[in-house]
Symmetry: C2
């Protein structure tokens, strides 16, 4: 009998669901509104219906599904399967999401994980890390999320907060991060903070072609920084160098902690392309120790937006196997 | 039938061996010269004889031993069981230590690990971490070694270099470390570098009661720094604060990476006592995020010198179970 696996990416606005075969080949894809403003029962019902629809569209029934994977942004008590009060789900108060979805799906096993871990596992199972056992993963977006694969499994700590890699401090007493710490890599190298550092520099009077952008649009985005970098702007290069240096150093720190074979960057910012990746590698190679030649590979993710549904399905498969 | 486990701490000068019962209670302890200046065959023979002696002294025979644990300082290819060219074993060239010892002991299973990992596992199995599943371990000596316990097991990366925690960079472009990097925590907070920073400060003319030590002995040790700290010297306090700050920050970085329940410091430097431990905790609490209340415990190791033999025996037991 063929088995299929359901991967769910639960966002505040949309639910995305994929139905995958046992080789993680996408068979069908469904999207539905979350209706997070309504009560939790409605959200669970929307998830379940989308899951059932994806399975039906793939030509299977729920009896063919050994397990379902559900990823969503935090904060949540993932190991307990509970969302307390997440920003994206304003009506949720102490909701046992995993149990409710399992009950609604007739007792189906449900794996519940945070979105960065799920995307990490997706890249590991079917993307940029599919041929390695040990991997570190960073998403570069508004913040910096992370995931760690150790011997083929997501590394979980004693609670639900391992691999918060954006909050590794690399410049003690440096820039203030949203988390309250100073000098986190996120405070330098997230898309948001890359843009913010550019804006601050222009406002301080640094000469740059980005000044026109700020004057006209009232803001500088991370994409602007990379566009102007490619056009040869000196400030854009300085800003990018600082982004890349912080990422290069956090890569070598991770090498010394969990010793991955590969380090994978994902998120909107990787659209910058090789001009960013090469600089990260440069700083890594410049700062790494001389004790032995390191062979860790630093690369970009390959699954794009689908990493969430693939990773959730892959986690379901791992749990069911 | 009662089983016993043998833990071996292979140093450049002495071999220390302990024979333990299945609850890791020490039954007998043997020490013998390594004779590292002779050939590898002699060293293996010395190890085997000490192991056999420890078992006999405990009232058992080698038939009662399911496995033997062997810890030694690096560099070595631990996963392959090979010492290439370690500082402590000048005559060793590509020696298959694990296999040779196993052969000499009639095919006995031998676990081979680096000394910091072994001590870490000892503290986890029978010392400061015995009631937790997730732990991070630092040894503060000439350098800073490390170990990570994740879900009850030593974390191993893709090669033999995970948990090189002394080489986490916390001050990019900071002090030069022996490893070739700049700004490693080891370059600030090892016993050697704590003493070195004090010496540098005194030589630069900083007022301190340590000046007399330097003038009389020609050097300042780490113990001198803590002795003068306790006597109220201001420079000794500054030096200690910098040591503790770097350690506090590396603790919170490890919290964000592997999320341990407990962080354990070992090595000669912990003789400094609460005056050091309290400052590490202070810096940790001062710099940690505000996103949630962290409950990680920071404490000192409890096994002292025996951590090596206990950890090696505990690894043998884990492998045999």
């Amino acid at each position: 009998m063929n088995k299929v696996y359901v991967g769910i990416d639960l966002g505040g606005t949309f639910i995305k669901v994929g139905c995958f075969d046992s080789k993680l080949k996408l068979l069908s894809k469904v999207s539905a509104p979350t209706e997070a403003e309504k009560d939790a029962r409605t959200v669970i019902e929307n998830i379940a219906k989308a899951a059932e629809k994806s399975v039906a569209e793939a030509g299977f029934t729920m009896a063919d599904v050994p397990a379902v994977g559900l990823g969503c942004p935090g904060p949540a008590r993932y190991s307990e399967g509970i969302i307390d009060a997440a920003t994206n789900f304003p009506t949720f108060r102490n909701i046992a999401v995993r149990q409710l979805l399992s009950d609604r799906l007739g007792g189906k096993a449900v794996v519940f994980e945070n979105d960065a871990n799920v995307a990490c596992f997706g890249e590991f199972a079917a993307g940029a890390g599919k041929d390695v056992d040990d991997m570190v993963f960073f998403t570069l977006g508004t913040g910096i999320g992370g995931g760690i694969i150790n011997k083929g499994k997501l590394l979980a700590g004693c609670g639900d907060n391992a691999a918060e890699l954006g909050h590794i401090i690399i410049y003690p007493d440096g820039r203030l991060c949203n988390c309250g710490q100073r000098g986190c890599v996120e405070a330098y190298s997230s898309a948001t903070n890359t843009a913010k550092r550019a804006t601050e520099a222009v406002k301080k009077g640094k000469s740059s072609s980005l000044k026109k952008v700020l004057d006209e649009k009232g803001e500088i985005t991370c994409k602007d920084v990379y566009d102007h970098l490619k056009a040869g702007d000196k400030l854009a290069k300085e800003i990018t160098d600082e982004t890349a240096k912080a990422l290069g150093i956090v890569c070598l720190n991770m090498l010394h902690v969990t010793e991955p074979k590969r380090i994978v960057f994902a998120g909107g910012m990787i659209a910058a392309g090789d001009i960013l990746l090469d600089r990260i590698r440069d700083y890594f190679n410049e700062h790494i120790w001389k004790l032995r030649k390191e062979t860790v590979e630093i690369c970009f993710a390959t699954l794009g937006e689908d990493a969430g549904i693939i990773g959730a399905a892959a986690l379901a498969k791992q749990a069911a196997d």
